[in-house]
């Protein structure tokens, strides 16, 4: 737990003290303008689908706790919109994913996601391994080579 807390503090302090370095980033595919034109041309994806795209990192429909990546379920609507807009406009740009992934999302989509997440119940999931019935075959048994992550 301590490790994750420290990492989280590192992220926060990094956001404050470091500038985003974008010198050799590679951007491609649609331009932002073309992206927004497509968004206008077709009906908006459902709030459920938009929110579900966050699941792989933030836990099922935003519900994952106890990790570096924060939960979204139960988040106040205005707070969600504010944070997303800060990422999108570069005001709170970060260097991992959010400063990038928010760029092509429309304001309407952000509002729809905010409303969806505000209605979800945050579920405190355990960090414990959930699959206690895993049978480890003999060939798969090994020792962990624990490396020093430098933050513990």
């Amino acid at each position: 737990m301590k490790k994750f807390l420290l990492s989280f503090l590192l992220i926060i302090s990094s956001l404050v003290f470091f500038n985003v370095q974008a010198s050799d980033d590679i951007i491609g595919g649609l331009t932002l303008e073309e992206n927004f034109q497509l968004a206008k041309k077709f009906p908006m994806p459902s709030p459920w689908l938009l929110a579900a795209q966050c699941s792989a990192c933030h836990g099922t429909l935003g519900a994952e706790y106890n990790e570096i990546i924060p939960p979204l379920a139960g988040m106040n609507k205005e707070e969600f919109i504010e944070r997303m807009q800060e990422y999108k406009t570069g005001e709170a740009n970060d260097f991992i994913v959010m400063g990038i992934i928010t760029q092509p999302i429309t304001d309407e989509e952000i509002i729809a996601m905010a409303e969806f997440f505000a209605e979800q119940k945050p579920v405190p999931w355990s960090k414990e391994k959930g699959h206690k019935d895993v049978v480890v075959p003999e060939w798969a048994k090994m020792e962990v080579n624990k490396h020093d992550k430098g933050v513990e």
Binding site: N35, Q53, V97, K141, M142
Partner: protein, 440 residues
């Protein structure tokens, strides 16, 4: 939008579907999932493949719909996550860390999991036959079989050799462990050959992440050991991070480099394995001896998809609004088997394709217009346990018959050590969260 076209190819009319669903079958949350047996008239959604795509489809369909009957057909009783499996090679994580069972899917999400192998689809009868003789009727069939590893595309290579002395290790499992053990046991100053495939293949940065991890391993245990990457491509994604990392950490580009990368145009493409001499032959006729040989063969759609006429040639074409097959109706294809360019073949993508499909199926069951797809991909990769990176892409719908349109952003080299470390921590965090998202 496109709803008329969409319904035209459905075997069941919307009215029939609604009738099957029952008047009371409004979508409600998981808490409403009944413990009673599913009604005989409940629509039956059958999913072939219990990997990331198939398991995500089963779970997320249940989150949307408490009434449908869901069956997953998967031969293995446990699944080993591929994301994170490169870390098994240096021993930073264990295979056990990556193992999950289907118990949560069965008990919490009321999914019927049959541990058997699906063999053939009878498209007229809308039935899937299983190896042990069972025949399942479906209303909708989701096909997520993972890729076929084309061992035979490399002369002299085979699945038997990959299971033996020449592990490809491109599905997490026994070959991964075998590759780890071979590298640990390699003679001092020996050479590990890694041969990445041509495009497209699962997890594009993985062969290069693997090379980085093996270099870290050698640096610790066998510092005069070398890695020779013989590539069937001229470039690779995230090289703007890997190459500078290799320069800084492994002397890349110098005479003493631990890693040498040979592009296809410089003669890198491996065309033959000479197993008895423990060597590979490249397209330019050169022979390279390796103490450990890790050929990652080219890929195609999964065998089940190929055998059941779902692929045009190598991959399965789909309509991107709902990932329905353009070759057979009431069948959807997701994951590595899809002809999905510009979407890369990643577990992340497979899970998000699954969410699009189950929403579309659920919309149809409820007689609603099928929604617009939207897909996010974040490739989080590592170069070492002190350096992480990310590639983020969004995919928007561009109309019927059109491919999804991407907008991608590959992060550049990160020189701040604190930020490098945080990105690495996030990559590890993501792997844990992702495993829980799909299987818990």
């Amino acid at each position: 939008m496109n709803n008329q076209n969409h319904n035209k190819k459905d075997g069941l009319s919307r009215r029939q579907m609604l009738k099957l669903l029952g008047a009371s079958a409004l979508t409600y949350g998981l808490l409403g999932a009944s413990t009673k047996a599913f009604s005989n008239t409940a629509p039956h959604i059958v999913i072939v493949g219990g990997g990331i795509g198939g398991a995500a489809a089963a779970k997320y369909l249940r989150l949307l719909n408490a009434e449908v009957k869901i069956t997953v057909i998967e031969p293995n009783s446990q699944y080993i996550f591929c994301p994170g499996s490169n870390e098994v090679i240096p021993g930073w994580v264990t295979l056990e860390d990556l193992m999950v069972t289907y118990t949560t899917l069965k008990t919490r999400y009321k999914v019927n999991v049959i541990h058997d192998k699906a063999t053939t689809i009878d498209y007229d009868k809308k039935q899937v036959k299983l190896e042990k003789g069972d025949v399942l009727s479906y209303h909708k069939l989701i096909v997520s079989p993972g890729p076929t590893h084309g061992y035979h595309a490399i002369e002299g290579f085979s699945k038997e050799l990959a299971d033996g002395d020449f592990p490809a290790a491109y599905d997490a499992g026994r070959q991964t462990m075998n590759l780890r053990n071979q590298i640990l046991a390699m003679k001092k100053g020996g050479t590990v050959i890694i041969a990445p495939p041509e495009n497209d293949y699962r997890c594009p940065p993985a062969p290069y992440e693997r090379a980085s991890f093996v270099a870290a391993m050698l640096k610790e245990n066998n510092p005069t050991g070398k890695i020779l990457i013989l590539d069937a491509k001229d470039e690779f994604v995230l090289s703007n991070n890997y190459i500078p990392y290799w320069e800084k950490t492994f002397g890349y580009g110098t005479d003493n480099s631990m890693i040498e990368w040979v592009q296809k145009k410089k003669g890198g493409e491996v065309v033959k394995l000479d197993a008895s001499n423990h060597a590979v032959v490249t397209a330019d006729g050169q022979t390279h001896k390796g103490d450990v040989i890790n050929i990652i063969p080219p890929e195609a759609a999964g065998q089940f998809a190929l055998k059941n006429d779902l692929a045009d040639d190598r991959w399965c074409p789909v309509e991107f609004q709902d990932f329905s097959s353009t070759r057979h109706k009431d069948v959807y294809v997701i994951g590595d088997s899809v002809d999905g360019s510009p979407m890369p073949k990643t577990g992340y993508i497979a899970s998000n394709q699954a969410r699009v499909v189950v929403q579309a199926i659920n919309d149809e069951l409820h007689g609603r217009e099928v929604g617009t797809p939207f897909i996010v991909n974040d490739c989080v990769a590592m170069a070492g346990h002190d350096y992480g990176m990310a590639l983020s892409t969004t995919f928007r719908y561009a109309g019927k018959g059109e491919r999804l349109k991407d907008l991608y952003y590959v992060q550049g080299l990160e020189t701040n050590p604190a930020k490098q470390l945080i990105r690495q921590q996030v990559a590890e965090n993501w792997q844990r969260t992702f495993r829980k998202d799909i299987f818990e």
